[in-house]
């Protein structure tokens, strides 16, 4: 080890103190990098350069597109039809609405790139329907918050786009890798719902059995909303378009659909556009300052130090377990994207050392930090669901925490069984 610079502790220390003091995370990264630049007498043109460079990445075009689709679909209100359709088919089964909740999230995940769009939009309808049917409200909130986490795993996914950007892998391959873990996640949750209902006596009354006529009518009504995920899945698996194009096609589909069903108006259109810019601005600012910060991480030699320290354990299973614990811990405090950006050089280094593909590493990382969205102290997905439905955070926590079990099982499968992530990309040939 020659190149470890002890000053790195100062830079990291500054960064951590600043973000704890509620300084915007991107500015904290820039300030820590500034210290580095001053100490090493280097040019701060790097601020402008890395910024422009991150903005100009073609694959990042997917980002505003997917953000727009998520915002706009909620504005148009098509997503509720998905849940109603599932309710018609499953409501009469034991825990049927809870299962419908998970399945609706899986479908919604197929066109939205973010978990909170699910929790805040679709989630309201789900909790309302379940409460009206007599379900335990805290359990309903728990199912909603946990299932929202499927959003970033089943493509499209903003976090996958960012990982692909950071690791210079194919966005498409990342997307393809997400389907199977997303499906496993949903199935594990549904299994857990059955177990939880049986063992804890949770109130989950069956609703009435809908007629076939009602079922088919509800399915018919939800077809336009289903069109979104279908276009995306078809586009991603047959590759009619690149990920960036895929997002824009979905966006145009949503707009045309809204016009066709006469729900389009200027107010909601501009609202969705503003929300898109707000999120895009925030994310791109993080990416840009993250690239500056990464310069410090890469050139200060810390990646090598951390990698070597972990690899010295000489036990693949243990290393992966430690890494997962670290990521889970970080995910409890910091947003997914920030972790991806800060850790990417180290994670990529580790992936190479462990003989893991960047794709598997990427899915594992995103899954880890997605689990953080239902884990206290922050649990943003739970918080958003509670806020949108008027539920109580503390009392919903009891059931929410239990969903860490199916999530953790999924995580272990992703971490230790490469086929879970790599099967589909290999089948479709994106990964060799």
């Amino acid at each position: 080890m020659t190149s470890f610079d002890p000053m790195i502790l100062l830079y990291f220390g500054t960064f951590v103190v600043l973000i704890l003091l509620q300084i915007p995370i991107s500015y904290a990264m820039l300030f820590a990098s500034l210290e580095y630049l001053v100490v090493n007498h280097e040019s701060f043109i790097i601020f402008a350069q890395k910024t422009a460079n991150s903005f100009a990445d073609f694959n990042m075009l997917a980002l505003p597109a997917f953000l727009f689709v998520g915002c706009f679909m909620n504005e148009v209100g098509l997503t509720d039809r998905l849940f109603l359709m599932l309710e018609c088919w499953l409501g009469h089964l034991p825990g049927g609405l809870a299962h419908a909740n998970v399945l609706a999230s899986m479908l919604f995940a197929g066109m939205s790139g973010s978990a909170l769009a699910d929790a805040g939009g679709l989630g309201t309808i789900e909790v309302k329907a379940m409460s009206e049917a007599g379900y335990d409200k805290n359990f309903s909130i728990a199912v909603t918050a946990a299932s929202a986490g499927i959003g970033p795993i089943i493509p499209p996914s903003i976090n996958f786009v960012i990982w692909a950007f950071l690791s210079q892998t194919s966005t498409m391959a990342m997307f393809e890798a997400g389907y199977l873990p997303g499906a496993i996640m949903g199935i594990c949750m549904m299994v857990w719902i059955v177990i939880a209902m049986k063992t804890q006596n949770i109130k989950c009354p069956k609703s009435r059995r809908y007629t076939w006529r009602e079922r088919f009518f509800a399915t018919w009504k939800s077809l336009p909303a289903l069109g979104g995920p279908i276009i995306l899945i078809a586009g991603i698996t047959t590759g009619v378009f690149t990920p960036a194009e895929c997002g824009t096609v979905a966006a145009m589909y949503c707009v045309l659909l809204a016009i066709a069903i006469r729900r389009f108006n200027w107010a909601m259109f501009s609202k969705a556009l503003r929300a898109t810019i707000a999120s895009t601005g925030m994310v791109m600012c993080l990416c840009a300052s993250g690239m500056v910060f990464n310069w410090l991480i890469v050139t200060s030699g810390i990646t090598t130090v951390v990698t070597n320290a972990l690899m010295a354990l000489n036990n693949r299973i243990l290393i992966l377990l430690l890494l997962n614990c670290l990521l889970l811990f970080m995910g409890c405090f910091i947003g997914a994207m920030q972790i991806e950006i800060m850790m990417a050089p180290i994670l990529m280094n580790l992936a190479t050392a462990l003989g893991m593909s960047y794709i598997q590493m990427g899915v594992m990382v995103v899954l880890n930090i997605t689990i953080g969205i239902i884990t206290p102290p922050f649990a943003p997905a739970l918080f958003v669901t509670c806020k949108a439905t008027g539920g109580n955070f503390e009392s919903a926590l009891k059931y929410t925490i239990q969903f860490l079990i199916p999530l953790f099982i999924t995580l272990m499968l992703v971490a230790y069984v490469p086929q879970v992530t790599e099967f589909l990309p290999r089948l479709l040939g994106t990964l060799k």
Binding site: Q49, K50, N53, S170, T242, V298, T303, T304
Partner: protein
């Protein structure tokens, strides 16, 4: 993926410093006989002090490919030769940014050395664009002659702040591949042809009769597989290593352009170096050049055998028909503002003739 130099060893490198080139001070170790493996081994034993100058050497390629291996070789040789005066850290795989970023890094003093394809430098010296023009040259040597003759190139690159220690690392020529056999230019009609976002490639594709489709390199393999594009071009080794052959198993070795890798320093850094060190860096450049050129041709021969085993068809193609299809391209391009020198194509033709005369086949 790590900055490569490491000096965990305790003993300083036991390197004989006999047979030194004349004019070089005795503190510089002769490394001219070291192979890649030997250099790697000895570099691990070099010790660095507080006054060691750190030199960041970047490249876009991934470790294991010939280009990055050559970069690593250069770093090791430099570290041994100066016995710890400099510490060349090699960053492969775009760790310091993509090629455009690295070029800017060099101008900003954030990076000292890099290796990239010479025609990438066309952003700074437009006359280099012609290196990517289809069928402008007939051999790497002919193209080198042009580079040496065109003084404008060297003036531009110097103005932009880059000093070259090697630019004759001959990559394998560019070839075409497609999901169907391309025997002659007329087979390219209707072909969706992947191009990078560069005008010269757009012109090439159109001249050969194909439909150019801009696709990022990172999505190239995927785009081929899914039929977003039907084929395209690349240096021959990339056809194998990037796996293009899996979706486009018909290869046409038309050798339509002769790309080079080049190694260069940031001028702001170079100018701070003593003249004798500069000399050593240049000679190391030649040494790495030789290694690269010896390796890459053999490597392609092996790849080709393997490709044929894997079912790739090397099409018996009519090179002349492609040349004919693009015969007006040079004249058209020299009327645009793609090059800096007026009537560049006609000048190139004259230089090419000059070269042919001096080097009859």
């Amino acid at each position: 993926k790590n900055p490569s130099s490491s000096a965990s060893g305790t003993s300083p490198g036991a390197i004989s410093s006999s047979s030194q080139p004349t004019g070089i001070s005795s503190s510089i170790v002769d490394v001219s006989s070291l192979s890649v493996e030997e250099a790697s081994k000895q570099a691990a034993n070099v010790q660095y002090g507080a006054d060691t100058k750190v030199v960041r050497f970047g490249n876009a390629g991934a470790l294991g490919e010939t280009g990055p291996t050559a970069c690593q070789y250069y770093c090791d040789l430099a570290n041994i030769a100066f016995n710890g005066k400099y510490r060349f850290d090699f960053y492969p795989s775009e760790q310091l940014g993509n090629e455009t970023t690295m070029l800017e890094n060099m101008q900003m003093g954030l990076q000292e050395v890099m290796m990239t394809t010479l025609s990438t430098m066309a952003t700074y010296s437009p006359d280099l664009n012609i290196l990517d023009m289809a069928f402008c040259f007939n051999s790497s040597e002919q193209a080198q002659y042009y580079i040496a003759q065109n003084e404008q190139i060297w003036k531009d690159l110097d103005d932009a702040g880059y000093v070259f220690v090697a630019y004759n690392l001959q990559r394998n020529p560019r070839m075409l591949f497609c999901t169907w056999p391309l025997e002659n230019a007329s087979d390219m009609k209707g072909m969706k042809y992947r191009i990078p976002n560069l005008p010269i490639f757009e012109a090439n594709a159109r001249a050969m009769g194909a439909t150019p489709v801009v696709t990022a390199y990172s999505e190239y393999t995927f785009a081929l597989m899914q039929g977003i594009v039907d084929g395209g071009d690349s240096a021959k080794d990339a056809y194998y290593s990037a796996g293009f052959y899996e979706s486009a198993p018909y290869a046409s070795e038309v050798d339509f352009a002769y790309p080079f890798e080049s190694i260069f320093f940031a001028k702001s850094f170079w100018d701070t170096l003593p003249a004798e060190d500069q000399e050593v860096f240049k000679s190391l450049g030649s040494q790495v050049e030789k290694y690269y050129n010896d390796t890459i041709k053999d490597e392609w021969a092996e790849m080709k055998t393997e490709l044929i085993d894997k079912g790739v068809t090397f099409v018996d193609c009519d090179r002349q028909s492609f040349i004919d299809a693009t015969s007006q391209l040079g004249y058209e391009l020299q009327e645009t503002d793609l090059f800096k020198t007026e009537k560049l194509y006609e000048k190139v033709l004259a230089w090419n003739a000059e070269f042919e005369k001096a080097n009859p086949a």
